[in-house]
């Protein structure tokens, strides 16, 4: 080290020491004004995440003096006087005005502008300024996500977007995703839920993304917005953008939650004593085993979830990255259920070649291990004899059923044995890799960009069903004999490859901005399925792993199956966007797409859209209070692909065996009615909307009306036999019309630095009418089922009538003998044996009149509060558990609901009728949370926030069943709406504590 250098070194050290001392000084006496008379320093952070905000504009009010924050979010500004006022502004955040009041150190936190009015919106193949959008697009970003017990990406936006319903119709089942419907019921086809696009990967799975990795979710609601996705946009599009790293310091973020869950609402059944007593009272000989067991208690447990999520992000000027790992475990409400999810994600962005080339790499992997359990235990818990002994102790008479009490009444299985003598496991391994390159031709033709993207997504799924020989259901045991046991192992591999390339050209002619996009898309899907099943295990139960011990396989009674299928979607697309003077906007898109699934003449379809928007504040003087007022209108056509491969072709498959000369040959026959004329289902949608922002952007909102017609519906209809071979066939039939109003409004009631209150309401109405169907004839669907009501149907679908009609006999009262009376066609009252279909009528509708969400976000100093209420008004639910088990006569074979005690005068057999259809309107406190951010002035730790949250805290409803939420489908059939089944999962109430730690 030379002397010169040494001196330099010392000088630097002195400077650092001085800075350090000054820092300490500031730290301990930050209100001391001694440092500099007219300089104000400080930092700006995001009020919610605590992250430093670089590039925030800082201006002294009434002057041109200004600066901006550096990469670390710090600033220094010379002010004329310490009595001045400073204004902090930053895109996407609410601007803040702060009087200096003599301070020289002012640290502020900016609140994100939840409405994101001027933000950038992710649309198909690109982004647009919010003002340029002419279709219907709603966005929710990190700040506005639902918090607390969040399991899946869709939980984040539940109730936040008008018209998008995330229904908890599957209750608290930890292993089935919620039903998602956008703008009513517009299709019966394969894809009733919106298309999911994650970082540009079309058709990606929401199961392969951890909620903690999501930055924003943009929902393309109308056909004009989604038409560029052509065949798969018919049910709308959910665009997910993941978090990425930013240039600058390395950020580490750790989030953890612990949740405990309990049943929100259970169905009460008769206790053993009540059952005995009711039997005596009604003169029904009930079987009394002498105990008193609450079977619901026997099969349920307190659940819990825990989540650990760690993310590291950062980068240099050229390369940014974000890497994250997530670990989730969950124990379900039903015993033996739960799951464990491990996922990782890596996003890398790199710029090279003088900023001309942008590369991005997204990798994600998720393994999900599920114990799926057997929800039919819920049904059995209602009906199993309450006097039967619980548990499997000391029941030596029941050795063959593993010690579980057994009754040979058909359809009656010990609920505990259902869960403990069987396993139902699933393991999913998902992998997604996506590479994208973008090149800017700034010298060749400024404004021209070319991009190419390749992505590959795989899912390997293993399903293993196992039943012991002691198991009655699945295993086949009876009280006197062991069963045969069962192992059923199914493996499926599915993958899809997507290749897309686009050319984008941006230019402007004076005041007109023009953007042109053209592209090509190729997607290849592949599925393979293998299955083996065997039973008859002697002399022991082998466990689920070793199927080789099965005797049924060598005897030729096992099952071995495999099949493969693939399909392609190939499309070309284009979009033109015009922006004249930030006042008039025009967007138009076109996509031509071909599918391998349709017959030769019908493979290709054309999908297009056009939209207009106008910003009125640039044309008329609407006064200072109106910040913006935009009108927009659009029209678009989207499609729906065929539900499976081979559907249009005549296919032969093995149809049993055929004895020829004393030997069995496989017989070949068609596997379904083919339909070579099958074609695209087409949805055309008209949308008109307005958006406004007022009072310094404190009040903002949007209003929409849409009318969507889906024609040539793809539907598996009943066909006559003869001439057909099978009683159903896929055809293009019918037309559904959906229309509705939606609005969203948001108001900053309080907007100050240390206190803020934002309240927002979303509201949506629905109307779905089946304007055309196969013919004018009615279809009766939705079997009530066993016990005893297998010929009773619950739903009627008919041309010209609204969807969701619940159908059946109208209950009018009891006759003098206690038999139920129903309204006949001629208005008279008849008993059930005289009832005909002509007497049945519409007794409810399963679709809501409107849904709403009410969100309140309050920040007070270091505290934050959130109250979110959502609801659905005007829908009915057919309470089938009551239809089966409320009638006291049922106790001669099954337990009844406690409400049967109020119906002792009912003497006739149980029959589902209007008495069991209930108004299920509800309002639910979906989320109530409170958080505290610790004030830490340690540069190493950027944020510590602790919060507590409750989900499903309270539900206001008159519905007496388990869950008033809208049922959009029944056992997979989208035409059957509004049915609650006894084997459904109950909903849960959960309490969560969480920690956010950023450093």
């Amino acid at each position: 080290m030379t002397t010169k250098n040494t001196i330099k070194y010392w000088k630097r050290l002195q400077k650092q020491a001085l800075t350090f001392v000054m820092g300490v000084f500031v730290f301990f006496a930050c209100y001391n004004t001694a440092v500099s008379q007219n300089t104000v320093t400080g930092s700006v952070i995001d009020a919610q995440t605590g992250e430093a905000l670089p590039g925030v504009n800082i201006v002294v009010e009434g002057t041109t003096i200004g600066t901006s924050t550096n990469l670390d979010g710090n600033y220094e500004i010379d002010v004329p006087s310490l009595d001045d006022t400073i204004i902090y502004t930053f895109v996407g955040y609410i601007s803040l005005t702060e009087a200096i009041n003599g301070r020289t150190q002012i640290d502020v936190a900016l609140l994100p502008d939840v409405r994101m009015l001027d933000d950038v919106v992710v649309i198909g193949y690109g982004t647009q300024e919010r003002q340029q959008i002419t279709g219907s697009v709603s966005s929710v970003s990190t700040e506005a996500f639902v918090t607390g017990n969040v399991e899946r990406a869709t939980d984040l936006i539940q109730g936040k977007i008008p018209g998008l319903v995330v229904s908890q119709s599957r209750g608290a089942d930890p292993n089935s995703p919620p039903e998602i419907r956008l703008r009513g019921v517009s299709t019966f086809g394969a894809q009733q839920s919106p298309l999911v696009v994650i970082d540009g990967v079309i058709g990606a799975s929401l199961e392969n993304i951890d909620p903690n990795d999501i930055q924003t979710i943009d929902v393309l609601k109308d056909a004009s917005a989604s038409a560029i996705y052509g065949t798969r946009g018919a049910a709308g599009v959910i665009q997910v953008t993941t978090k990425r790293g930013s240039t600058g310091q390395t950020n580490v973020s750790y989030n953890s939650t612990f949740t405990t869950t309990g049943v929100e609402n259970r169905i009460e059944t008769l206790s053993g004593d009540e059952w005995r007593q009711l039997g005596q009272e009604l003169g029904i000989a009930v079987v009394d085993f002498g105990s008193d067991t609450d079977w619901f208690e026997e099969i349920t447990q307190r659940g819990n979830n825990s989540v650990h999520s760690l993310a590291i992000s950062g980068g240099s000027e050229a390369t940014t990255y974000r890497v994250s790992g997530n670990y989730r475990t969950r124990k379900g409400l039903l015993q033996t259920t739960g799951n464990e999810v491990k996922s990782g994600r890596l996003n890398i962005n790199h710029r090279a070649l003088n900023e001309r080339l942008a590369l991005s790499i997204n990798l994600s992997a998720t393994t999900r291990e599920e114990d799926r359990g057997f929800p039919n235990a819920f049904d059995s818990a209602i009906t199993y004899n309450p006097t039967a002994p619980s548990g499997n102790d000391n029941l030596t008479d029941f050795f063959n059923t593993g010690g579980w009490h057994y009754t040979s009444t058909s359809g009656m299985t010990n609920p505990s044995a259902i869960l403990h003598e069987q396993t139902n496991q699933r393991e999913d391994r998902r992998l997604n890799a996506s590479l994208r390159g973008e090149y800017y031709f700034d010298e060749l033709l400024p404004g021209l960009t070319a991009s190419a993207q390749y992505s590959y997504e795989t899912l390997s799924r293993t399903d293993i069903l196992y039943a012991t020989r002691q198991g009655e259901s699945g295993g086949g045991a009876t009280q006197i004999t062991l069963g045969s046991g069962n192992i059923d192992r199914r493996y499926s591999d599915s993958s899809n490859e997507l290749f897309e390339s686009t050319l984008n050209y941006v230019t402007n002619l004076e005041r007109l901005d023009i953007e042109l996009l053209g592209g090509y898309s190729y997607q290849y899907f592949f599925n393979a399925f293998n299955r083996m099943q065997g039973s008859d295990f002697l002399p022991l139960d082998p466990g689920p792993a070793n199927i080789g011990l099965s005797q049924s396989i060598p005897e030729g009674r096992g099952i071995i199956q495999s099949n493969e299928s693939d399909n392609k979607l190939i499309g070309g697309f284009a979009r033109l966007s015009l922006n004249f003077d930030n006042t008039y906007f025009f967007n138009s898109s076109f996509r031509r797409e071909g599918s391998t699934r349709f017959g030769p003449g019908n493979k290709w379809g054309n999908f297009y859209s056009a939209g207009l928007g106008v910003e009125l504040t640039n044309i008329f003087d609407l006064g200072q209070d109106v910040n913006s007022l935009r009108f927009r209108t659009s029209y678009g056509v989207t499609g729906q692909d065929a539900p499976f491969s081979g559907i249009s072709q005549f296919r032969l498959t093995s149809a049993g065996s055929f004895l020829v000369d004393g030997n069995f040959l496989p017989a070949f026959g068609p596997n379904s009615n083919s339909n070579p004329d099958l074609k695209w289902e087409e949805s055309s949608e008209f949308n008109i909307g307005a958006e406004f922002s007022m009072l310094d952007n404190r009040l903002s909102g949007s209003f929409e009306y849409y009318n969507k017609t889906t024609a040539d519906l793809l539907f598996e209809r009943e066909v006559p036999v003869p001439p057909f071979i099978f009683p159903t066939r896929w055809e293009n039939i019918g037309e559904i019309e959906n229309k509705g109003f939606e609005f969203a409004i948001s108001y900053d009631v309080i907007r100050q630095q240390d206190r803020a209150w934002n309240t927002g309401i979303t509201f949506a109405t629905f109307e779905s009418v089946l304007t055309q169907f196969v013919d004018e004839g009615a279809r009766y669907l939705g079997n009530m089922g066993a016990p005893g009501q297998s010929t009773v149907t619950l739903v009627r679908v008919r041309e010209g009538e609204p969807l969701g009609q619940i159908w059946g006999a109208k209950f009018v009262g009891l006759d003098s003998n206690g038999r139920s009376l129903y309204e006949a066609e001629d208005g008279s009252s008849v008993t059930s044996d005289l009832l005909t279909r002509a007497d049945e009528q519409v007794i409810g509708n399963g679709l809501p009149d409107f849904t709403f969400g009410w969100d309140n976000r309050v920040n007070f100093k270091n505290w934050d509060f959130n109250l979110f209420i959502r609801g659905s008004i005007g829908h009915d639910v057919a309470n089938t558990p009551r239809g089966f088990y409320e009638n006291p006569a049922i106790i001669q074979s099954r337990n009844a609901l406690k409400s049967a005690l109020d119906h002792k005068d009912f003497t006739s057999q149980a029959l589902f009728n209007s008495y069991h259809v209930e108004d299920a309107s509800f309002a639910r406190i979906q989320n109530l949370s409170i958080g505290y951010t610790f004030p830490i002035n340690n540069p190493q730790i950027r944020r510590i926030r602790l919060y507590a949250s409750a989900n499903n805290l309270y539900t206001l409803t008159n519905y007496t069943g388990m869950n008033p939420d809208v049922r959009y489908s029944d056992r997979g059939n989208p035409l059957i709406i509004g049915i609650e089944r006894p084997e459904e999962w109950y909903t849960e109430r959960s309490f969560t504590i969480g920690l956010n730690l950023d450093f």
């Binding site: 390159g437 081979g646 055929f658 070949f668 071979i725 297998s790 074979s893």
Partner: protein, 552 residues
């Protein structure tokens, strides 16, 4: 230097551009990976033979379980499924079937319609394909002709079942040009039924000479010439019911064709026709060759037996305790008036199954399972679920007596349908026995009936019936009358799904037919009940169909 660089960069971009268009594949033709299309089928003879199997597929679903025809047997005077609490309540379908109050939405008759017409459609499709292949020269006419005849025969057989069960049904003979909503031949029921009858008759007559004459292994379980003769004989036997014209002489002609062929003869032991391996029976003419591995669908052991049977027979599968034998039917075996024969100790029809003197018929124990059930070690079987009111308590004693049709019959009420040998240790839902649709002893009884109808004192008629009785170990009849003949048919052809046909053919005691007479748990029923209703789902799917008269 910088310029060069820029150019290189732009070349890179251009490369991206080129990729866009080079990669632009637009081929969306579809290839199936695991299914077969007609394009790669029908290439070798084995393909033709195996494709024929599809014409037989629906039969296996119709007979062997309670799904279709097997379920509709509950409407007869020999079988029932009583309701025990929620067990077998099933929305009242079994009770309504038995009491002849069946509705158009009954799933059993709906399945019968759908499966029979699946058979028709499969046959039509195969006929179309074979005719195309013969026309194009891809198969030789000499190979094709017997296939065509066999397929027409199967189609006619399905129509024979449809005629019998529903009467007036659409006649569809084309695959390629079939109407989307075919209508019945006539909106007048009787006129339509006659046309279906004519179709079945003309089809069988047309193909008789083209069908395979060989019996035994080569045509086992297949439509051969003798199956056609026999079906024609049954068609003519019931001709008076179907079209109001008796055709006794034709009945005799076709039974004679079978008898004179010498291909078939009575087995010495009735039970041998129903063994687990009954392939060797010289008596069985048309069977469904059920197989527990290759051709499932015969589940009598599940449908019929008391749960305690599982242990007694060492079955590795539980039973559903469904099919029961009506007490009145059991009585026709032991009653010396209806069934003269050697007397011995039998169970009476009272609730306690008192031991009395009655006729010993060696078919009784073959057809019906009753009495106490013992475990393999000889210990009495116990049913812990038995009702308190069961006179035998938890000791399993199957009584011929049935307490009630509903709502809570005893678990051990009613003899159980047996007839087929049960394989010890059987596992799963499928039995190995071949189900007998047509049997030589019925050929004899059919001929006897036709002779008797023409001449009530015909000696050969009596002799033929007594041939069958002799094999059963009972005394010969000295005279034939309605009651005796119907009772004998009932015992001999029990559980062969011909009972309904017999009952609608014999005159009843209340002016209509036997089918309309009251019997155990069944009131008298109107004559429109002699056919089943057109299924509601079909009426809703096909607006051209009309419902059979009387049903709404």
């Amino acid at each position: 230097m910088k310029n060069n660089n820029t150019k290189q960069f732009n070349y890179l971009g251009l490369l991206l551009l080129v990729m866009v268009f080079v990669a632009s594949c637009t081929d969306v033709s579809e290839t199936l990976r695991s299914e077969i299309t007609p394009d790669n089928f029908f290439e070798v003879d084995e393909h033709f033979v195996s494709s024929l199997g599809d014409a037989y597929g629906p039969l296996a679903s119709m007979y062997g379980s309670n799904v279709a025809l097997g379920g509709t047997m509950i409407a007869n005077d020999d079988m029932v499924i009583t309701q025990r609490g929620a067990d077998w309540e099933d929305g009242g379908i079994w009770i309504r079937l038995h009491q002849h109050e069946n509705r158009p939405d009954n799933v059993r008759t709906t399945n019968t319609w759908e499966l029979a017409f699946s058979g028709v459609s499969n046959s039509n499709r195969l006929l179309f394909q074979f005719e195309e292949l013969i026309a194009s020269g891809d198969i030789d006419a000499s190979l094709g002709t017997p296939f065509i005849a066999e397929l027409r025969g199967m189609r006619a057989f399905y129509y024979y079942l449809l005629l019998d069960n529903f009467g007036n049904v659409p006649i569809v003979t084309s695959f390629a040009d079939a109407a989307e909503n075919p209508s019945q031949p006539s909106s007048d029921f009787q006129e339509g039924r006659r046309q279906v009858y004519d179709f079945v008759e003309s089809e069988f007559l047309a193909i008789l000479d083209d069908l395979n004459e060989v019996s035994g292994t080569a045509t086992y379980g297949r439509m051969n010439k003798w199956v056609a003769h026999y079906t024609l004989a049954k068609l003519y036997l019931n001709s008076e019911v179907y079209i109001g014209e008796a055709k006794w002489a034709e009945t005799i002609q076709h039974t004679n064709a079978i008898i004179n062929s010498g291909n078939y003869s009575l087995m010495s032991n009735y039970a041998d026709n129903f063994l687990v391996d009954n392939t060797g029976s010289t008596e069985n003419i048309f069977v469904i060759p059920y197989d527990k591995s290759f051709l499932g669908g015969f589940n009598l052991h599940k449908m019929s037996f008391h749960p305690a049977a599982q242990n007694a027979l060492k079955l590795r599968t539980g039973s559903w305790s469904g099919y029961q034998v009506l007490t009145e039917h059991y009585a026709t075996y032991i009653n010396p008036d209806l069934n003269p024969g050697p007397q011995g100790t039998v169970y009476d029809v009272d609730p306690l199954a008192t031991e009395i003197q009655g006729t010993i018929d060696n078919r009784t124990d073959v057809n019906i399972w009753f009495g106490p059930i013992n475990n393999p070690d000889g210990s009495p079987a116990i049913d812990p679920q038995a009702q308190d009111s069961d006179p035998f308590g938890t000791r399993v004693f199957i009584t011929p007596h049935i307490r009630e049709l509903f709502p809570n019959d005893l678990r051990s009420s009613g003899g159980r349908v047996l007839k087929y040998e049960i394989e010890e240790g059987l596992s799963g839902n499928n039995m190995d026995n071949d189900y007998v649709i047509q049997r030589y002893s019925d050929v004899l009884l059919t001929k006897a009936e036709a002779l008797w109808r023409m001449n009530p004192s015909d000696g050969e008629a009596l002799q033929l019936v007594n041939e069958v009785r002799n094999r059963a170990g009972v005394n010969p009849y000295t005279v034939l009358n309605d009651d005796l003949l119907l009772a004998e048919r009932g015992r001999e052809t029990f559980f062969e799904m011909v009972r309904r046909q017999d009952l609608i053919r014999f005159d009843g005691k209340q002016g209509l037919t036997r089918w309309n007479d009251p019997w155990q748990f069944k009131p008298a029923s109107p004559s429109f009940r002699n056919v089943f209703p057109v299924p509601r789902s079909q009426l809703e799917a096909n607006p051209s169909l009309v419902q059979n008269p009387g049903y709404n």
